[in-house]
Symmetry: C2
């Protein structure tokens, strides 16, 4: 029988800068809050602090805008330098209309501005890029957190994406380690003994969304622990959440 799940915000993380050791920062914040990680905890970390620690930041004035970056700037909300970075982080333009630039990143993620975000490091105006390999980032973070806490935890790296048809953004999983991002209910008998219709639930996205509820924006809570969710630890990739072109009706 499923028990309750807790979503625990991790406070006091503060500003992360390049070459910071994220596992140490998270470990200290947890200690100060008297939280010990336990087996089965899922640690959700926002992309932004991972990218900052990994030095995935660019000064927009250092890149030369291309023709299409100027076109995007003429129609959009940002300047041509910003859009040039977006285009360089992308392998395909999905939609460019109504002041919005939606692209497919080199990872296969489809989102506004390739996940490139304005950021401030001290007084510098930089932009953050998504991690080069969010699964690898998650995996490294997981190894370090497991070792320090002596517990088997999973890690999800999250970002906030818009979606077609529905208003508002939701947090989704862009990198995972130690947990299957999909839970497959296909073919299990339901409570009446009937075989259920296939359903494949994107639990890593649901956990990223759950974590967002304690993260807020102004509070600066870039890490949350999900405790009590039942799963089998396993190696898997957030690539499983990306629909292949053959299965995608919206190409």
């Amino acid at each position: 029988m499923t028990g309750p799940i807790q979503i625990i915000p991790v406070h006091g993380i503060g500003e992360v800068v390049p070459a910071d050791d994220l596992p140490t920062i998270i470990h200290i914040a947890l200690k100060e809050q008297d939280i010990s990680l336990i087996d089965g905890d899922v640690v959700v970390v926002t992309q932004k602090i991972v990218s900052k620690a990994e030095g995935r930041m660019v000064d927009p004035t250092t890149v030369e805008p291309s023709h299409m970056a100027h076109m995007a700037a003429a129609q959009g909300h940002k300047d041509a330098h910003h859009y040039e970075i977006v285009l360089r982080e992308s392998r395909r333009v999905v939609r460019m209309d109504r002041r919005v630039l939606i692209t497919e990143t080199h990872h296969g993620l489809i989102c506004a501005n390739a996940g490139v975000d304005e950021s401030n490091v001290g007084s510098e105006r930089l932009v953050t890029l998504l991690p080069v390999d969010p699964d690898r980032s998650a995996s490294r973070l997981r190894d370090a957190l497991c070792e320090r806490s002596n517990a088997t935890v999973a890690v999800i790296i999250s970002d906030t994406f818009g979606r077609p048809w529905r208003e508002g953004q939701v947090n989704v999983a862009i990198g995972v380690a130690g947990i299957d991002p999909l839970a497959d209910y296909a073919g299990q008998p339901d409570t009446h003994g009937y075989m259920m219709q296939a359903s494949n639930i994107a639990v890593a996205d649901e956990m990223a969304s759950a974590a967002e509820l304690v993260m807020g924006k102004v509070d600066a809570v870039p890490v949350a622990i999900i405790r009590g969710y039942n799963y089998t630890p396993t190696n898997a990739s957030a690539q499983k959440l990306i629909r292949s072109p053959e299965r995608d009706l919206f190409r």
Copy 2:
């Protein structure tokens, strides 16, 4: 400072049949589990038991399939009777390809098969339809639960939808009462005093997703309580989550 959030599964609800009094059923299940609703709780209820209680069920053999229903059956996974019901629950076909029929329902929701689901009531093979007005269903449920519990709670009616580009389904909010489904962070200063980029978070969808984590499929947990989420009680509609045609890049 944000505190932890709990997601509490409500067990023991059992099979719901037409004309069942859902507030009473939920109230009894809560009591048996020694849970008292408190101010600020958000009660997430899956569409299926709401539809069943409201008698939103049809015997597919009683409807006459149209030409297009036969076409859908020739390409899809269900029979023509089933697709006829889907078409009658829809105001627009969004995609019909690769064995999938995605439509826009009369509410404006875009999902596979218009939310029509196979169901079993005893030995009868029926299908469930979405509630006629999920906000009204949520509102009625909310009024009754508030009265019985003497607490100001909110209600979200959820369903499991697929989405473009990403694999797996997630739970989303199709009806709400007592809570704004969107949280607007636009224009608030961040922790460094900079004005933040606009972001509008679909918190009702995130809560529906969080609730799914304790619902599972085989466990038959159609209700979950989200406790500890900070919000201001308000009248709002899940229609706010539906992107208007003018703002939708994917029409």
